[in-house]
Symmetry: C2
Subunit: 249 residues, 2 copies
């Protein structure tokens, strides 16, 4: 049978989602937990997409193929018994016919968090990236508008990735601000039909660079029209990135 799982994880101590020869991953932990819970090695687990080393997830979606007599809704608890504290199956149910966590995904939302402050704050660092100073939120929002719609995001794709096309649609790119004393928390929420390797982290860095006056709106327009990687900001660190949710039909 095929089941759909919603999974949350703190990615700090993992080499990303995908099983790999060296290094502990979310997927390898999920498989180990499934082997233990269902008492069989005959299990496959596939996510909506990989997340990179150090990236977190609030609502990753997976499908899992396994034969078990455990009721679908209880599978979450059965697996959580064997999962480490930083990974949790939030819910489980029987998948609809033809459901594939990766191929059936229609929209994904990622959130990138930064905090602007006079000095680094240890209570923020785990899920947000420190930037010294105060942000120009208005400028960030100005730049954000340019990304909405269908574009060739070649300039925002880390080299070495193999994809058929670098064209993606961003439905919404929203910049939210929450003030907390002398800290200004910025959340960049990006909803799209799919994302290239490092795309959200590079968009976040580009909004930041524009807001800091280190690049112009013309640079951003050029990056989208020509794919020139010299016209984008830096790729931000992974710990600020959270896969928020995946939408299906």
């Amino acid at each position: 049978m095929r089941y759909a799982l919603v999974v949350a994880y703190d990615g700090t101590n993992y080499c990303g989602w995908q099983v790999q020869p060296n290094g502990v991953t979310i997927q390898s932990n999920m498989l180990e937990a499934a082997y233990a819970a269902f008492k069989t090695d005959n299990v496959t687990i596939c996510a909506s997409g990989r997340t990179d080393s150090g990236v977190h997830a609030k609502g990753q979606v997976c499908h899992m193929d396994v034969e078990t007599t455990i009721p679908p809704e209880r599978i979450a608890d059965a697996m959580n018994v064997y999962l480490p504290q930083d990974i949790s199956v939030l819910s489980s149910h029987l998948a609809k016919d033809g459901f594939d966590a990766n191929r059936s995904a229609k929209k994904k939302t990622y959130i990138y968090n930064m905090y602007f402050a006079p000095r680094r704050n240890p209570l923020k660092d785990r899920y947000s990236v420190f930037v010294k100073g105060t942000p120009n939120v208005q400028k960030m929002r100005e730049a954000a508008e340019l990304f909405e719609g269908e574009h060739d995001f070649k300039a925002y794709c880390a080299s070495g990735s193999q994809v058929v096309t670098t064209v993606r649609i961003i439905y919404k790119l929203q910049v939210d601000e929450v003030i907390e004393g002398d800290i200004c928390n910025i959340s960049i929420s990006v909803c799209g039909n799919g994302f290239l390797y490092n795309m959200v982290r590079t968009i976040a860095g580009t909004l930041l660079y524009y807001a800091m006056g280190r690049m112009s709106l013309d640079d951003i327009k050029k990056s989208l029209s020509t794919g020139d990687r010299n016209c984008v900001g830096k790729t931000m660190p992974p710990n600020g990135l959270i896969l928020d949710s995946v939408l299906y039909d």
Copy 2:
């Protein structure tokens, strides 16, 4: 010279504030950073109060005695160079005459965080404690009122602590709720003139037990009038507790 420092830390990996023979503490790290920054061992650092193993601080206040030519406002940066990622001096300045971080403190605010959800969430666990189900916020607020004012908190003080008096004043005990999908975040904010060992964590457990129907308002009243430890809820885990701020004249 005496300096006043505001310090934030993630207490997860520390045996609390105070230097002790076995185990790494915040104070021992602060001292090591000061030795390195000021190139002398002739330094003392004293906090507004100890925090226990695993407890966090957003605004711990310390005084530090040291001779240095570093300008007061730059001391924070000078020490941060030598501090680990999970401790940060947020600000530094010259202390007023007679300032003592512990004795001059007038009010302290602690925050205790819990989250109510169907299942554990790894992105919450570091600074908040999981409770299965949904909270009765109204009942928590009902119980909270009983604690405000001057009371003998003997029943809320862990055994083994040596204090002159167990009488303390709570100026305000506030229960705030923030809903996030199927998660309900509860913050219990307690402002008082001082706190006994485990007092906030036991008050938080008592509000929770009353809200869950495991004890009555009469139990709470009795705990405050008689000091009977059988009339209080459980002492909640340390990771939900944050020393928010310390107020001076």
